[in-house]
């Protein structure tokens, strides 16, 4: 039947179902299809905190959200335009997220008496007026696939499991995307399981056809291609990007890579990813605890490796003492902290930005180190790579902050060639005659590096204060003052080695929105909206949180007000105020989920009036 074409700039689709329904899988397929067919995507998986909650329950709902658009979408979408709901519970928990007129694609087989009861529905909402704000497309997918595959030799259990691919087909049609990517994936994945391959392939096709023929769906979305730079692209999550960044930095520096880590949500993926890379010669240790994780990395760094450790809040707290040792011994070390909601165990699966002050100040003694934050999944690559660059160039531990939102969310990433990446040249000191363990490069203030195995430069390092240049243990008062100041000067000096903060929008004006980390997307979109409405506002998003870019102060000075939206109670705010002695307004969200653009728009508006 003939359909309208509805051209939109962006749209958000959310696949929701029971944990066993395969929503993560088809969500990923949808987003890969979208991205590879030329539109922008940004995704976020939303698992239940239970490993496998009882079927059909409200807390067992698993979802995967995809935001697609003809320009950079930046976030996984504030509100949902299309909901796929495989059962009653997945409808119910998602209602608050739905946009007006949202299309709800509901699998009626998930709305039987049992499912309704588990969701706490008295009546079937698909049949009531409750959803009158929305457009409901109710399909009994189970029936459809059973019909479709009747007579085949395929087991009923397998047939039932194809419901998600039927739903995928349906949504692919709705967004006018080809089935090719999904088909290719299926044939790769189930190369040796012909019946599963056939069942899913046919379900996918059937879903697509169903949509095409359904009178309920009277339009198709049209989203223009986003004009991307030429190049090779892939979807990438923040955690993958971190792992790849370290691999790339290891290639670039020509140092072996070593990861010492202990599993913790939401950082575990990085360890898992690295653990599969033995064919690339990469070593790792899943240590007995976080302390051993970082200490083993310190040992590997001491041995001349590019060493890193990965963790999340509680693990960072445990690594504090050893970070101090890395500061004192001036060994290169990258510490990746994937922030989650605290304090203590907090909301372990939810993102927050509340480890910034700890990263800055959380060590006993004066122990300064660079702090860097990634703004998006793809930016995790650049940020972690920059962390490695600084660590090796300045002989220092570096903390790189990401968070559960961008770590697990994904977006397209233009894949660089390693040859094109910024230079990381390591030079071990190789002249025994001039070697001194604490002699410094006059420019960077980095100490000389010689590693075990290098002849004639045997020396000893450690956690006690060391004599300037010579590196012997020293209790001399003035030496301690000097070394303390040198360690600080070394880190402060990095300011001249990093790019100026870039202003997105006018150079001056009423309000500067200053952000860091994963709030980038929401702030970007909010700023866009406000700028389009003609407001005199700008946006600066910081990668380098310590030291700050040199121009940051003057840049802030050109605005009447500065707003810092943070997923904490105002941590960057504290640092900025102390450093620049000016009042900064905060917007603080600590709800275990990211800002929406509209929350920021609202705050900006209220400040402008």
């Amino acid at each position: 039947m003939p359909k309208f074409i509805r051209t939109v700039e962006d749209a958000t689709i959310r696949f929701a179902g029971d944990s066993g329904d395969g929503m993560q899988l088809v969500g990923t397929q949808f987003s890969e299809t979208a991205a590879s067919t030329g539109i922008d995507v940004n995704t976020f998986p939303d698992y239940p905190s239970e490993i496998r909650a009882p079927e059909g329950t409200l807390y067992g709902v698993s979802a995967f959200q995809v935001h697609v658009g003809s320009k950079k979408v930046n976030t996984h979408g504030d509100v949902v335009d299309v909901l796929v709901a495989m059962n009653a519970s997945s409808l119910k928990v998602n209602i608050p997220r739905l946009a007006d007129k949202c299309i709800i694609i509901a699998d009626m087989s998930g709305f039987d008496t049992r499912n309704l009861k588990l969701a706490g529905y008295e009546d079937n909402p698909l049949k009531s007026q409750d959803l009158s704000n929305f457009k409901v497309v109710a399909v009994d997918i189970e029936q459809e696939v059973k019909k479709l595959l009747k007579g085949s030799n395929i087991a009923p259990k397998v047939i039932k499991k194809t419901r998600n691919f039927f739903a995928l087909g349906l949504t692919l049609w709705l967004f006018d995307r080809s089935q090719e990517h999904a088909l290719r994936w299926l044939s790769r994945r189930f190369a040796n399981e012909a019946d599963i391959l056939e069942a899913n392939t046919r379900a996918l096709q059937a879903g697509y056809d169903y949509a095409q023929n359904s009178s309920l769906l009277d339009f198709q979305y049209k989203i223009e291609h986003i004009g991307l730079e030429k190049g090779t692209y892939r979807n990438i999550s923040g955690n993958e990007a971190v792992a790849l960044a370290l691999v790339a930095a290891s290639q670039k520096s020509r140092l072996p890579l070593f990861l010492g880590s202990y599993p913790i949500t939401p950082a575990t993926d990085i360890l898992q990813y690295i653990s599969a890379l033995k064919r690339y010669g990469i070593k790792h240790l899943q240590a007995e605890d976080e302390i051993a994780g970082i200490c083993s990395a310190i040992g590997a760094a001491y041995g001349g490796n590019l060493a890193f450790t990965t963790t999340s809040g509680p693990g960072l707290s445990l690594k504090i003492e050893a970070i101090g040792l890395a500061v004192m011994t001036e060994l290169p070390l990258v510490i990746i902290n994937v922030q989650r909601a605290g304090p203590s165990t907090g909301l372990p699966t939810k993102p927050e930005q509340s480890d910034l002050l700890q990263a800055m100040y959380g060590r006993h003694g004066e122990a300064p180190l660079p702090v860097i934050a990634a703004r998006s999944a793809a930016d995790c690559f650049d940020s972690a790579y920059e962390g490695a660059r600084l660590a090796l160039k300045y002989m220092t531990p570096v903390i790189v902050l990401t968070d559960g939102y961008i770590a697990q969310g994904s977006e397209p990433w233009k894949v660089p060639l390693i040859a094109e990446l910024p230079d990381i040249t390591v030079k071990f000191h190789d002249d025994p005659a001039t070697f001194q363990p604490y002699k410094r490069d006059p420019e960077t203030l980095a100490r000389m590096w010689a590693i075990p195995g290098m002849q004639g430069m045997e020396h000893r390092i450690g956690g006690l204060e060391k004599q300037d240049i010579k590196g012997n243990v020293s209790h001399d008062p003035l030496n301690h003052q000097k070394m303390t100041e040198l360690r600080k000067a070394k880190i402060d000096g990095i300011a001249s080695d990093i790019p100026d903060a870039k202003i997105l929008g006018p150079d001056q004006g009423k309000l500067l929105v200053l952000g860091w980390g994963s709030t980038y997307g929401a702030i970007r979109n909010a700023a866009d909206i406000m700028q389009n409405e003609g407001h005199q506002i700008s946006h600066v998003h910081l990668r380098h949180l310590h030291p700050f870019p040199e121009n940051l102060g003057t840049l802030m000075d050109r605005f009447e007000e500065v707003l810092v939206p943070e997923m904490n109670l105002g941590q960057l705010q504290i640092i900025l105020q102390s450093r620049y002695l000016r009042k900064v307004e905060g917007l603080h969200k600590v709800q275990g989920n990211p800002f929406t653009a509209s929350e920021i728009v609202e705050k900006i508006s209220s400040m402008l009036h």
Binding site: E32, S36, G38, T232, Y233, R234, N235, I236, L244, V247, A248, R254, L255, P256, F258, L277, K278, R279, Y280, G281, K283, L285, A287, E288, I291, A292, C295, S296, I298, G299, A300, A301, Y302, G303, G304, A307, A322, G324, L325, V415, L417, I418, F428, D430, I451, P452, G453, M454, Q455, G456, M457, E458, H459, R460, I461, G462, G463, L464, N472, V473
Partner: protein, 347 residues
Amino acid sequence: MKTLLDEILQTTQSVPAYEAKDFKPDVDVRWCAGCGAFSVLSPVQRFLPNLNLPKEKIVFISGIGCSGRFSYYVDTYGFHSIHGRPIAIATGLKIARPDLSVWIATGDGDCMSIGGNHMIHAARRNTDLNIMLFNNEVYSLTKGQASPTSHPGQITKSSPLGSLEDAFNPASLALGSGAPFVARGIDKDRQMMQDLFEKAAKHKGFAFMEIYTNCVIFNDGAFEEYTRKGIREDHTLMLEHGKPMLFGKEMDKGVRLDGYTPVVVNLRDGEYSENDVLVHNEKDSTLAFILANMTYHESLPRPIGVFLDLERPSYESRVEAQINAEIEKYGEPDFDGLLKGKSFWTV
């Protein structure tokens, strides 16, 4: 896949003919006069030439404690780390750099108290590390508190009314953790120490050596029973592989299993002969448990020597093997390909 390390470290120079003095750095040794640690340092310096490694390939890593100063006193690479963590640091170093000979100087507090977790996991994991546990049964650097090897009732600054805790038996703990090489040495017996270091060095895997070291300041005389001539013979059982377990001034006492409980028998009165006595077998892990379990039994001599010396592939060698197998299977790695992944597209 050659790294910078392969380049700078590739020199296959011959090993100089070192003497002990080549391992003495030009610094003052700042232990108290008479400290048992001296008696560990000198056999170490004497055995190092026999390691047959260029000195830059040797690393001493230590924690915090009087024992922690050890790393300053051997002229090799050294890392005086933080309290309790030398084993964890050494683990990373050894995995990253299997070419190095890695030695750890640690104390009963450093290794058994705050560092206990790293100790037991290193034992289980079997990284090729050589642990010298300076057991003086007290915290010395912090001036005399109880340690996990202090004996019940011991008066220390933190147990002025007598310690209420039972002591770890380091050998049992190491065995219980899966350590393949477990030994006990005594500071006063320098030749035995030197032999022990050589055995540990030969052992490719985790080698745990508890060394009784007398702290003359905070726990003087703790090991007198096992060190003083004329007494020690009746209180120590010197283990030798393949030899019957005899001890005593006249070697006229033996250790026999009664059921599975070790008891002392007298060989003089004719009831028992050498044939009834246990024969030491360093390769038997059950026997090692039995021997370790003899510790702290008033009526039994204290076993000294190598309890167990088993070979199983070290962790770092397993890592290398897995890497090599993978590279063999997949060929020279393609890093640009890794970055692209499987699902990429071009614009």
